[in-house]
Amino acid sequence: MSPLHFSFYSAFTFSSLGLAFHRTHLISALLCLESMMLSMFIPLSIWPVENQTPSFALVPILMLAFSACETGTGLAMLVASARTHGSDHLHNLNLLQC
């Protein structure tokens, strides 16, 4: 595997592992989602360069637009959690007790 391909592959894997193992704060999970989005943006931007297809350069811009929507929604849920429970600690989100 080329070192650059390994770099964004491992960046995506680190952030998804960080999302799976987030510890105390909800915002740490949201930050891991952001870094997943960033680690997908970089290869989507490199793809038109490597394959010399300019029309694919629009895909990372579109992805940035939808990721902004996702960020806004996640932060709105963070604010709602801070209003209800006083903090965004994950042990407060315990309605589903299995």
């Binding site: 960080g18 952001e34 870094s35 038109p48 360069v49 629009l58 579109l62």
Partner: protein, 173 residues
């Protein structure tokens, strides 16, 4: 030049590792800023400067600013620091998982080193990324309208989520 781009790629990976194993959201945001600066530098080194600047403006200038003040709303007054053994353990665990995945997948030939830049394909009058994003306004105008509509709807979604005093989507707020 190739080694500089590889160095930027390695720093990108380390920044994202810092986000994943963050002791506190303050340090997670620092890792995200470092990772996005390295990613932008990587894209500029390859020649696609337009998407790199779009990333800087929208991501660092817009989304991370909002994240930083949300972190100030939601984080601890006494955060942990990097030297805590749990943080180091998480970081090493993530690196171990990724390395095991690479080794067991049989992907360890790192000799394929090379960087193709934006000017590698002959003569053209316009740059690759400028012309590509310009397609968004000419042939891809339907996607443009869909994305704009989606962004407008996201504003209303946020409004309904944080509308307080039991009038919104989350009744307990």
């Amino acid at each position: 030049m190739t080694y500089f781009v590889i160095f930027l790629g390695i720093c990108f990976m380390l920044g994202v590792l810092a986000v994943a194993s963050n002791p506190s959201p303050y340090y997670g945001v620092v890792g995200l800023v470092v990772a996005s600066v390295m990613g932008c530098g990587w894209l500029v080194s390859l020649g696609v400067s337009f998407v790199s600047l779009a990333l800087f403006l929208v991501y660092l200038g817009g989304m991370l600013v909002v994240f930083v003040y949300s972190v100030s709303l939601a984080a601890d007054p006494y955060p942990e620091a990097w030297g805590d053994w749990r943080v180091v353990g998480y970081g090493l665990g993530f690196v171990l998982v990724v390395w095991m995945g690479v080794v067991l997948g049989g992907l360890v030939d790192f000799w394929k080193v090379g960087v193709v830049t934006v000017d590698g394909g002959g003569v053209s009058f316009v740059r690759l990324d400028f012309s590509g994003v310009a397609v968004f306004y000419s042939c891809g105008v339907g996607l443009f309208l869909v994305a704009g509509w989606g962004l407008l709807l996201a504003l209303f979604v946020v409004l309904e989520l944080v509308r307080g005093l039991s009038r919104g989507a989350i009744r307990a707020v």
